[in-house]
């Protein structure tokens, strides 16, 4: 490896990275998620046992991360589509990146408040 620096791209490049990483993460989660849901065909006990083992704080955090990934990927996906379709969006792509993060925050905060409440708040 040659000792080069990391390219200092702007918002567009970092959102590309985010989109890729979240896409892959969601994909692998989805594989697992379908497999575990399939256990409902095996027996209620099997399903509940596995789902029950997910109900740990650690897994709760993973779950939160997943939701974060989906939200980011989804909103950024909309931004990408907008950029491809409209010249206005293309010229304002940087501002749109911030819009994505704001929309993300707006949904994430109430979700986290509720979700972490369930995760750590007992039940």
């Amino acid at each position: 490896m040659s000792p080069t620096t990391l390219y200092r791209g702007h918002e567009g490049m970092w959102m590309w990275v985010v989109h890729r990483v979240t896409g892959v993460a969601i994909f692998f989660f989805l594989l697992v998620h379908v497999l575990d849901t399939s256990l409902v065909r095996v027996s209620p006990e099997a399903y509940n046992e596995v789902i029950g083992s997910y109900k740990t704080p650690l897994y709760g955090l993973v779950e939160a991360g997943l939701v974060a990934a989906i939200l980011l990927h989804a909103f950024n996906g909309i931004r990408i589509i907008a950029v491809d379709r409209s010249t206005w969006a293309l010229r304002h792509q940087r501002q749109l990146v911030w819009a994505v993060w704001i929309a993300f925050a707006v949904l994430m905060v109430p979700f986290l408040w509720r979700h972490l409440g369930h995760v750590f708040g007992g039940a």
């Binding site: 379908v34 509940n48 989804a74």
Partner: protein
Amino acid sequence: MTAQSPTRPPRVPSGRTRHNAEKWSWVFMRVTGPVLLVLILTHLFINLMTGDGISQIDFAFVAGKWASPLWQVWDLVMLVLALLHGGNGMRLLVNDYAQRPWLRKVLHGALGVAVIGIIVLGSLVIFTFDACPVDADPSLLPSFCEDVR
């Protein structure tokens, strides 16, 4: 640098373009994306935000949902689109990063198997799902099973 004589690209007859696979893949991502947005966000909202959130999820919850054909179709469409969208996205990644042809083949193959396998499995589960299996502990089942019995 060696002397180079530019090679002219192979000429194709004028007219509309012919190899459109990548174009359709691109369009597909853009069509399925927004649909998935609606499907997934609603799914997440119902599962994680209403009622008791994540703690409510158990066999009874799932069975309760799938009692309605709406949620059956919903989850099925979501499953298929998400896998096709995600699978195609992964294919693009493989194209970008796997330089060696054999590796590319192997990874594409694995992807195909995984996507088709999971779609088949998921559809089977949704359609052949029995909310009230006879030999199960009744306390684990959704409440409506009592009526069925």
